[in-house]
């Protein structure tokens, strides 16, 4: 029996397990707060609304359309996953890349301009998105390492600058009758990412492309890069103590710049696989930065800053964001899911404290048990 107990304790002490538990707690409390807000706004439909958010594509009773909308959710989730990877990669090196939103915007601008404006095939456009977004991330990294500019503030400034620039650039490929860019399907068919039969699985949802697979591969790649390579180890060491890393002969300035470039590249690739699937066009003249990047921050922290955890967290966040569009719009607005996500990020701040508390509790319990065992031995 004693053996069983120690086994149980060891699971509870496992860091991954604790992270999972605390993430689930964050989600539950987030839902609870969302429900309370819905109750305050209008108690009549609150239950249905929260169910609609949880169900998302299951809202459709026919399996065919449910599968189709699952596909759409997956496409959006794959872009979100790339943003989450971008955030967590920078975070491992001790940088808070809030510029993921701007890098995403630049990725969108570059991929659409290359595909629609220059008529390039998809792989060139995707590469352009990656390169330009990496360059933008690199600027923040350069300013941080050589001029000590706080990366959060420089990133925010670059976010707005890139939004205005991309609006200006994409106005050259605008449809004449709408505020959107020309749709890829008519302007340049080669610009669309190939489906490779994936669309057949999701009831012929033509937006499901290799992008979904690419994003998961990227997550695994980031996981290996960070945990299994010398380069990843150097980056993490730089994040933990810049001065110690320098002392050990690592090029800490170069490491910061490279990190921000990789981080930007990941975000740019996210934008590329999203916009090159043809699922949405860019709205020219939009005055706010797309929420995808900021949601990436939520997904990264909810996934416990682990690339594999980010896969599940991104899907979940996209699931409830899409679910928000099914609430009864005569009573509520779709932003209720943004509210829940914001609360979930806020609660993620408490995870560290929660773990500390749990470990303290476990220590105390073990001590008590040890004392009991000793007493028992004496008697």
């Amino acid at each position: 029996m004693n053996k069983e107990r120690t086994k149980k304790a060891s699971i509870l002490r496992n860091d991954g397990f604790q992270t999972t538990i605390s993430s689930i707690l964050c989600i539950l409390i987030g839902f609870l707060i969302g429900y309370i807000v819905l109750l305050i706004i209008n108690p009549k439909g609150a239950g249905d609304a929260i169910l609609a958010i949880m169900k998302n594509f299951l809202y459709y009773s026919s399996a065919v359309s449910a599968k189709k909308y699952l596909g759409t959710t997956l496409v959006k989730a794959s872009a979100l996953l790339m943003c989450a990877l971008s955030v967590l990669f920078a975070n491992k090196v001790g940088l808070f890349n809030i510029g993921v939103a701007g890098q995403y915007v630049v990725g969108a601008g570059a991929s659409l301009y290359f595909a629609v404006g220059l008529g390039m095939p998809w792989y060139i456009s995707l590469l352009a998105a990656i390169i330009f977004a990496a360059a933008l991330g690199g600027i923040s990294g350069f300013l941080k390492s050589y001029f000590n500019v706080n990366e959060v503030i420089s990133c925010i400034m670059l976010n707005w600058i890139s939004l205005y620039c991309v609006n200006m650039l994409l106005s050259t490929v605008k449809e004449s009758s709408t505020p959107y860019t020309k749709p890829l399907s008519s302007a340049n068919k080669d610009g669309l990412l190939p489906n490779l039969g994936l669309d057949k699985i999701f009831s012929n949802n033509k937006f499901v492309t290799i992008g979904v697979v690419l994003s998961v591969i990227a997550a695994i790649f980031v996981s290996i890069l960070l945990d299994k390579t010398k380069f990843g180890y150097e980056l993490k060491a730089t994040g933990m103590n810049k001065h110690a890393a320098k002392y050990c002969g690592m090029k800490e300035k170069r490491n910061i710049i490279i990190t921000m470039m990789i981080s930007g590249a990941l975000a740019g690739m996210g934008a590329g696989i999203f916009y090159l699937s043809g699922i949405e066009q860019w709205m020219i003249g939009q005055t706010s930065i797309p929420a995808m990047g900021f949601n990436g921050i939520a997904a990264a922290f909810l996934g416990g800053l682990n690339p594999i955890g980010a896969i599940f967290a991104s899907y979940f966040i996209q699931h409830i964001t899409s679910g928000g569009t099914y609430v009864d719009k005569t009573m509520y607005c779709t932003q209720i899911s943004d509210l829940m996500i914001a609360f979930i990020i806020y609660l993620c701040g408490f995870v560290f404290f929660f773990k500390l508390f749990l470990n303290k509790y476990l220590d105390k319990r073990d001590e008590k048990m040890a004392a009991k065992a000793r007493e028992g031995g004496e008697a």
Partner: protein, 313 residues
């Protein structure tokens, strides 16, 4: 020209208020990146109060109630940061980001719910407050004097006095530089940090109100405050965490922000034929350049961003 001065002053007022808010919070040792969200919530509190007061009330009452409402909403919002950062030792950058998202989401959800309940077809996130807003403005010839310009100036002077000439200010400084030392001489670090965060909430909320009443008489809350909270942080760094320098920095940034509103009134700027987007980008570009020059030797409070742990040496 007069219009340019007017806009420069009003935008500078916003930046002074919010940057001073950031200054108080950072001097106590808490980084407040959530100023943007606090501004939105403060603006929401003020706008709702103006909406419900309507046109009838006397100007003094309107000013008092609206300012009070936005200050209180700002403080309430900042407490979310305060409790988590001070008592639960949470990551302050993450909390600030959460606060920014939360501010925007709460404002949109609430405003839409109110609009929907009044009119089933009204799905916008806009609040109109034209009548009540006129209480803040006095016309002197062509120049629109706004009471907030005076309030911002008074707050600036007060902040200087509080931070440099009072016991409270000195203690606040100590908590941001070396909290352990402050604690050892009997200063309650937690209390001082709460005070710093709450002052930043009050000033941030007020700044949000000033921002949405600057020149317009309705506000679409989906737009938030367009990065002004972060511009204010840039102003604070440019001002090296000192109130008077912050005042000057805010004037400079306010000028560039005002240019984008009124550049069409200047013949030589029009003759340059730059697209209007350039003027929109200008404040952000200038702040980036300024940061490059001042960040190298910046003297931020030493203990900012580090949760205070009594057991630590």
């Amino acid at each position: 020209m007069l219009l340019l001065i007017q806009y420069t002053l009003i935008f500078a007022s916003v930046l002074v208020l919010v940057a001073l808010g950031g200054c108080f919070s950072e001097h106590s040792g808490v980084i407040n990146i959530g100023l943007e969200g606090i501004m939105v919530i403060g603006a929401l509190g003020g706008a709702l109060m103006m909406k419900f007061l309507g046109a009838g009330a006397p100007a003094a009452v309107v000013i008092l109630l609206v300012v009070l409402s936005s200050v209180l909403s700002g403080i309430l919002c900042s407490l979310l940061l305060g409790v988590a950062a001070i008592h639960f030792k949470a990551d302050q950058t993450l909390l600030g980001t959460a606060l920014n998202l939360l501010g925007a989401a709460v404002a949109v959800v609430l405003v839409r719910a109110i609009n929907l309940s009044e009119d089933i077809d009204n799905v916008s996130s806009t609040i109109k407050y034209g009548e009540a807003k006129s209480a803040f403005v006095i016309r002197i010839g062509d120049f629109e004097f706004n009471w907030f310009m005076l309030i911002a100036f008074v707050v600036l002077i007060l902040s200087y006095i509080v931070l440099y000439k009072t016991k409270f200010g000195m203690r606040l400084y100590a908590c941001g530089e070396h909290p352990q030392a402050a604690d050892s001489v009997g200063i309650n670090v937690y209390k001082m940090r709460y005070a710093g965060v709450m002052i930043s909430g009050a000033l941030g909320g007020l700044g949000g109100l000033v921002y949405i009443t600057a020149g317009v008489s309705e506000w679409k809350f989906e737009n938030g405050v367009a990065g002004f909270g972060f511009l204010a942080l840039a102003v604070m760094i440019f001002g090296q965490w000192k109130p008077l320098n912050i005042g000057l920095a805010a004037l400079l940034f306010g000028f560039f922000r005002a240019l984008s509103n009124v550049y069409t009134g200047f013949d030589f700027l029009l003759s340059l034929k730059l697209p209007s987007v350039i003027y929109n980008m200008l404040p952000y570009i200038i702040s980036l350049i300024v940061l490059v020059f001042v960040s190298k030797k910046s003297r931020a409070p030493k203990a900012e961003g580090i949760p205070y742990d009594k057991g630590q040496r």
